[in-house]
Amino acid sequence: MKNKKPEVADPETVFASRSNACTSDETTDRIKNMIRDMPQIEPPAGLLRSVMESVEARSVPLWVRAYRWARSPRTVSFNFLYLTPAMVACALLVFLALPLHKKQNGNVVLNEAKGLIPVQIAMDMPGAHSVHVVGSFNGWVPQPCSLEKRNGSNRWILTLQLQPGRYEYAFLVDGKHMPHPDAEFNQDDGFGNKNTVLALEKEDDA
């Protein structure tokens, strides 16, 4: 009788025989597990020593490290929600500070340049609740040029600091457009209203 050749595990069939018995997911899981448990080669014993010898030789002084740290780019991340309180606080600060900055003792500075001429605009307007002045010096916008009422009188006053030149202006009395009632020169604005004309000259020229 012929001796039967003993069966040897064929490396090429081991995976196949196992994977055939598995479902698709099980095969994938098995591959993952094999990768996880895959043996790794130990690094040479002297690696740590040689790295540390090189590193110690390259040790840099504190000021160099501080300089590098200061020069190195870094990512700054922020969340808009974190900024909200700061933005609200800034907006509030600007809102509160602007009138204080622009208007001190009823003196409005519309131009920071030298050679400004103080101009006091005043009118009697009994019964008015608010009086603003709009003109070519403030772009025809009533802010921040509101007149202040003197205590115990009907007189509304505002002092402006203006460059020499020719200006037109008018009052907004409770929102209603009107020229200065005591002005010498008024001019038609082309829209059915009249504006007061103000001509300022340098003191030398006057």
């Binding site: 081991v14 196949a16 196992r18 790794q40 080669i41 590193v55 190195s72």
Partner: protein, 190 residues
């Protein structure tokens, strides 16, 4: 005060903090912790024990030199892996080498994982040989994505960071790499 004082097992952030304060020796903790995965990366990339040793050493030295760039709050290992991967790529570009790693260099079966020659262990060894061979056939970016995800057990975010990829691209590499690996293993065994 040294942040490692009295701490037997400091985490990476504590070690890096100590190094940044001048404790050079603290770097040995990081080298010991990560020399094995970095060395094995280099072995897979070059197939040469000597080249892998040199590249591992250079990777750790480069990482030390660049440590001031390391962003606080990030994981050290993906950052180190990126340095190693780039260094190995440059090395291969200069030498025009492939990523093939001969199995005989890996000395399979000689380590402590294979103390005996029992049937089950031999079968297990054969499976790992096939796995290594199949991994070698993968493009290295697929292979490294799989190794990082399933061997180093990094999160997908850290795999993406180590490979300098977007998260979606990293997921795709792992998914396709795994499918390709499975295809190679099944094809080999038919």
């Amino acid at each position: 005060m040294n942040p490692l004082h009295g701490n037997a097992d400091p985490d990476d952030a504590q070690v890096i903090s100590a190094i940044s304060k001048g404790d050079v020796n603290a770097y040995s903790i990081l080298v010991l912790r990560y020399q094995k995965p970095v060395f094995n990366l280099m072995l897979r990339m070059t197939g040469s024990y000597e080249d892998a040793t040199d590249l591992t050493q250079e990777t750790f030295i480069r990482a030390y030199d660049q440590l001031y760039r390391f962003q606080k709050g990030k994981k050290f290992f993906p950052w180190l892996y990126t340095i190693g991967l780039n260094h190995a790529r440059n090395f291969l570009r200069h030498k025009k080498l492939t990523h093939y790693v001969p199995l005989e260099d890996c000395e399979m079966g000689s380590g402590p994982e294979y103390p005996g020659r029992q049937e089950e262990e031999i079968c297990a060894k054969l499976d790992y040989e096939q796995l290594h061979a199949a991994l070698d056939q993968l493009p290295f970016d697929y292979r490294e994505a799989i190794v990082l995800r399933y061997h180093e057990e990094l999160s997908m975010e850290n795999v993406a960071e180590a490979l300098s990829l977007k998260l979606s691209a990293a997921k795709m590499r792992v998914h396709r790499g795994l499918a390709r690996l499975r295809y190679i293993l099944e094809k080999k065994t038919k």
